[in-house]
Every structure is written in C-alpha cells, then in structure tokens.
C-alpha cells in the first residue's frame, strides 16, 4: 500500500498535464484552448504540493502549535501562491486577445486562422 502511494500523486499530475495538452492540441475554439491551459498549469501545482508533503505534518503556520512540530515545506507553498494569482491575470490577457481576434476576423477556430496581415 505504501508503495502505491509513493508515486500516485505524481501519476495524477502527469495525467492532468497530458489531458491539458491533449485539449490544447485538439481544440476548435480559442476560449476552450485557454481553459485547457489553466488545467495544464494546475498539474504543476499538484507536483509542487507532492514534493513538499510530509506524513503527519502540520501546515507551516505556527500560530497554534509550537515551533518544533514537524511541518510541511513552506517554500513550495510560497511558489504556488503567487503562481495562482499570476495565472489568473495571464488568462485575462489571453482572453482579451481572443476577444480582439474575434472582433477582427469573426473566427474563433485555431484551424481556420490564416497568416497575419498588415
């Protein structure tokens, strides 16, 4: 049982990554593509979380428990925290691009877009 759990979260992260990439590759709508990009990014959160976890650890907030209790890693959590907020704004930027694209070409299908014109 322990053996199975020691790699299961990494397998879930790989599955999410592949599913997100599959969605991007076979997408027929730009907004669908952007949302699949968000799923792709969340696979990295699962990997980071799994690296820092410790069995029986408490969250790295010592407002209650005393300082010596074994806690999970705070550094990867700091990385994930800013990453989530930045992901939202990058998605907003991409959505603004999609809106402008539709305004000019009336098309949202990545397959139908031709080369840029001046």
């Amino acid at each position: 049982m322990m053996h199975f759990m020691s790699f299961f979260p990494y397998a879930i992260a790989a599955w999410l990554f592949v599913m997100g990439l599959y969605g991007i590759v076979t997408s027929r709508n730009f907004v669908h593509l952007i949302i699949c990009l968000a799923v792709l990014q969340s696979s990295t959160y699962v990997v980071l979380l799994s690296i820092g976890y410790r069995w029986g650890g408490v969250p790295p907030v010592f407002a209650g428990p005393p300082v010596g209790t074994p806690a999970v890693d705070p550094i990867v959590q700091a990385l994930m925290l800013t990453d989530i907020v930045v992901e939202a704004t990058v998605v907003a930027l991409l959505l603004a691009l999609a809106v402008q694209l539709h305004k000019h070409t009336q098309k949202l299908n990545p397959d139908e877009l031709e080369a840029l014109e001046g």
């Binding site: 976890y53 790295p60 959505l95 603004a96 691009l97």
Partner: protein
C-alpha cells in the same frame, strides 16, 4: 499543420515527456518523505528571526521577496496588456444606426433577494479583505488573497445595481493610481534597505512582538502594498471586460455603447 499531423506530433511528444518524467521521478524521494533541508531550517528559524508566525508569507515577502517582486510585476504588466487590448477603439464608437429591435423590453432589474444579499455583503467583504491583508504574517492570508477579496466588493455593487453605479465608484484614474502606488510601493520599500546601508529588500523596520498585527517589519508593509496593487489590478480588469460587454441600461432599452 493539419489535425492528423498535429496528433502524431502530440503522441510523440507525450512519449518523450513520459520518458523524461519517469527519469526525473527516480531522483525524487517518495511521496511523504520530504528530505530537503531548507524547509526544515525555515520552519525552525522564521518565527524567531522575523517574528512572523505564518512562515509561507515570510518566505513570500522576505526570504524570497525578490521573486515575489518579479511576479507582482508580471501581474502588473498583464493588467496593462489586457486593458490596452480591451480599450474602446476609435472605429467602434456609438452604434448610431442600430435600431432597437424590441423597444418595449428592458433588461430585468435584479431581484429583491439578489439586491438585499449583495448590498448586505459589501461592507463585510471589504472588512474581510482588509483583515486578510493585514493579518498575512500571523495566519494564512496576505496581500495576494486579500487583494482579490477586496476586488470583489465593487463587483457586488455591479450585481446589486447596474453598470452605471459600478462606473461611479471605480473612478478610473484613482484605481490606476492605486495600482501604481502598490507596485511602486513594493519597489521603494526595498530601497529603504539600501539607503540604510544594507542590501535591497532587507527587513529594516521594527520587528515587534510575535503574534501581534504590528509585527515582522517590512513583511506587513509589503503585504499591504501588494494587496492594494492586486485589488486595483482586478478592478481594472473587471472594468475593462464589463465596459466591453454591457450595452443595455435599466429602464431604457436603448442599445449602443457609450464612452
């Protein structure tokens, strides 16, 4: 590249990705047995060195404060890019020749239940957002989370009323100034360390007593600056998207956008 070509390329890349991933996983310790020294070192010393009980916020704004400065500027630039893309361009002024297809129909006003609930929640939401921003160094929270909570308060105003009331409370220049003040404030707080003779972004304010709101030096100040910037950034994004979308006014029924 047509679809089948793309699928073949995708399958090859997935196979390559799996090979590299499995090779990388063999070097990691199994799940649950975190080996690394840095997390344990930080958990032990952060409370004593910085008088902050939330180690994640201390890492974010102090130990790795330079990375967070970079990420905050990514946010700033994305907001600038999105508002630039969504601005009303000269070619799309009022749709003057657009006939009103259904002049007797107006947009339904928000129901009384929606109005009551959202109006009641605006005050507590602002207070809650400020609480999360200010207590970032004690409990889970901080500038990023509290800033987004603060940005949902004008959204509640929009839900309770219409776009005109939303426009009235988010006067554009003030929100832009607040965002610039937040981003610039983080930058300048770092310079205070250099002026006082040590390195950039060093924690030079008084550290205070652990467990009180007024503790941990520059972490609290940076948290407030970040909260301001994130809140203003999201309000700008909302304003940009809503301005592009709304054209129906309550009780009017007349179409056409307005600047």
């Amino acid at each position: 590249m047509n679809r089948t070509g793309r699928m073949v390329f995708f399958l090859i890349s997935v196979a390559g990705f799996f090979a590299i991933y499995l090779w990388a996983l063999r070097g990691l310790s199994p799940f649950g047995h975190y080996p690394g020294p840095y997390g344990d070192v930080l958990n032990k010393v952060a409370v004593y060195e910085r008088h902050a009980t939330d180690v994640v916020t201390a890492v974010n704004f102090d130990y790795r404060g330079f990375d967070t400065l970079g990420e905050e500027f990514i946010l700033f630039i994305s907001v600038i890019g999105a508002t630039l893309l969504l601005r009303r361009q000269k070619s799309e002024t009022e749709d003057g020749d657009q006939e009103d297809e259904s002049p007797n129909r107006t947009a339904p006003a928000p129901s009384d239940a929606t109005r009551a609930l959202t109006l009641a929640l605006i005050g507590p939401m602002v207070l809650f957002g400020l609480y999360i921003v200010c207590h970032g160094q004690l409990t889970p929270g901080g500038g990023f989370q509290g800033g987004v909570i603060l940005a949902t308060a004008p959204l509640l105003v929009y839900l309770a009323g219409d776009f005109e009331s939303f426009k009235k409370i988010t006067s554009h220049t003030l929100v832009e100034a607040a965002e610039a003040a937040g981003a610039g404030g983080y930058l300048l707080i770092g310079f205070i360390g250099m002026i006082l003779g040590t390195f950039y972004l060093r924690n030079v304010f008084a550290l205070g007593k652990t467990g009180e709101v007024n503790s941990s030096g520059t972490i609290a100040a940076i948290s407030i600056a970040t909260g301001l910037e994130v809140a203003a950034g999201f309000v700008l994004l909302l304003y940009g998207f809503l301005e592009q979308t709304l054209e129906i006014r309550l009780g009017g029924g007349k179409g056409g956008g307005k600047k």
